[in-house]
Amino acid sequence: MGSGGELRYEISQNAYIKLVLHSLKHKTSAVNGVFLGRSCDDVVQIIDSVPLFHNHLGLLPPLEISLIMIEEHYAALGLGIVGYFHANERSDDVELGNVAKNIGDHIYRYFPQAAILLLDNKKLEALPKGKDRLPVTRLYTRDASKNWKLAGSDGGCRLTTKEPAANVVLLDYISSKKWEDVVDFDDHLDDITKDWLNPELFK
């Protein structure tokens, strides 16, 4: 179970769509988020997600506060932080930067099967044309030498959405500009009445 060689990740539609929409809301910035879930045999179930920031992703204080509060909230539901999501500032940039790796490392310390998902804009743009059911992200896991390694297509589909039509739903939300309703932790810190749980988003 250690290095995650056989490990699969199954992400719920809402957890997935929420963070992609978040990145579309802040098209000119880098954004990030965390995944909540649990591990079950050799599958990590990603059940929910919280969008974090769209400004100054590299600063610690907002990150520390958000992680503590999110952990406290979800612990009551039996879920923990199981992964990290990152979308780069530039749409053609698919490099996993140091900020993302550092945050991933931190999450890994508490959950060794942690994954990093990096938004792949080319895949996202190609969605309307193809019938791709796989998430529009790149999956990274920690290898034995403590590096974040990109899961290639040779490994089969290690990351799938729980609901097969997730991308169809995503495209639908995109066309209705649903991203406007996404609230992240940055928004919450600026106005605490804004709820980072986004309880009404998919209703």
Binding site: G58, L60, P61, I68, I70, H73, G97, N102, I192
Partner: protein, 252 residues
């Protein structure tokens, strides 16, 4: 939105074309932009200002090489054109060359050191590259020139906290306090900052003699203020907040 031929606009009409062109470029409506620029070219055939718009159009199209040539040539004619200088930085940044953007911004700021937006942009690039000391320097410049803007004190505190170490944490606490002062105690981020700083300082100074005498009071004031606000306006998050304070060992 294209300005129609309205004689009552007078010379304002041309400024409007310019503004619409830039706005169109911002939302990638390049055809609209091109139309506006064409109108201006006809009216002002030798104009450098229109030349600037033409260069921006090249940039918006992603014709990096041609845009760079156009901007450089404009700067040769007028080395004090701030807009063009900054467009050149944006051009370099858009191509992913962050160190190039940093170099250009630093050079720009040697001449135009009062440009706050440029200092902020530079700080943000540094933060994205985790070059926190350099980011701190930018915020120091901003604080010196605009000491009553809470945003800069807050960002400076965040950067210092991120740098870490007792000295930086103590200084960060001071700047969070200034932010709280400048914002009438209403800045959530600064209040959290106080709690985080105190907690981190306590952890780091365990077993040492350094004491942070005013700290328990300041931290309990900050946490009390946060709890009051959450109770009033975000009560469903209050339990997460209280548990968070327990984790941080915040005294109340």
């Amino acid at each position: 939105m294209t300005p129609r031929k309205d004689p009552s606009l007078g010379p304002e009409e041309w400024t409007l074309y310019e503004q619409v062109a830039v706005a169109a470029m911002d939302c990638q409506s390049l055809d609209v932009a091109k139309d506006c620029v064409n109108v201006l070219q006809k009216k002002f055939p030798e104009s450098k200002r229109v030349g600037r718009l033409e260069a921006m159009l090249l940039e918006a199209k992603g014709s990096w090489g041609e845009a760079e040539k156009a901007y450089s040539s404009l700067l040769e004619d007028n080395p004090f054109d701030q807009v063009v200088h900054k467009r050149r930085v944006a051009l370099v940044k858009a191509q992913g060359n962050l160190s190039g953007a940093i170099d250009l911004l630093n050079k720009y700021l040697e001449t135009f050191m009062a440009d706050h937006d440029a200092w902020r942009e530079l700080a943000e690039i540094y933060i994205s590259l985790q070059m926190y000391k350099q980011a701190a320097f930018c915020y120091e410049e901003l604080i010196l020139s605009q000491p009553t803007v809470p945003l800069y004190h807050l960002a400076y505190a965040d950067v210092l906290y991120t740098l870490g170490g007792i000295e930086n944490l103590l200084t960060a606490k001071k700047y969070y306090s200034i932010t709280i002062d400048l914002t009438g105690g209403k800045n959530t981020r600064a209040l959290f900052g106080i709690c985080l700083c105190t907690s981190a300082i306590t952890q780091l100074s365990k077993g040492r003699n350094k004491e942070d005498k005013d700290s328990p009071d300041l931290q309990s004031l900050a946490s009390a203020a946060l709890e009051k606000e959450y109770k009033r306006r975000a009560s469903d998050k209050l339990s997460a907040l209280t548990l968070a304070f327990k984790t941080l060992k915040v005294s109340s």
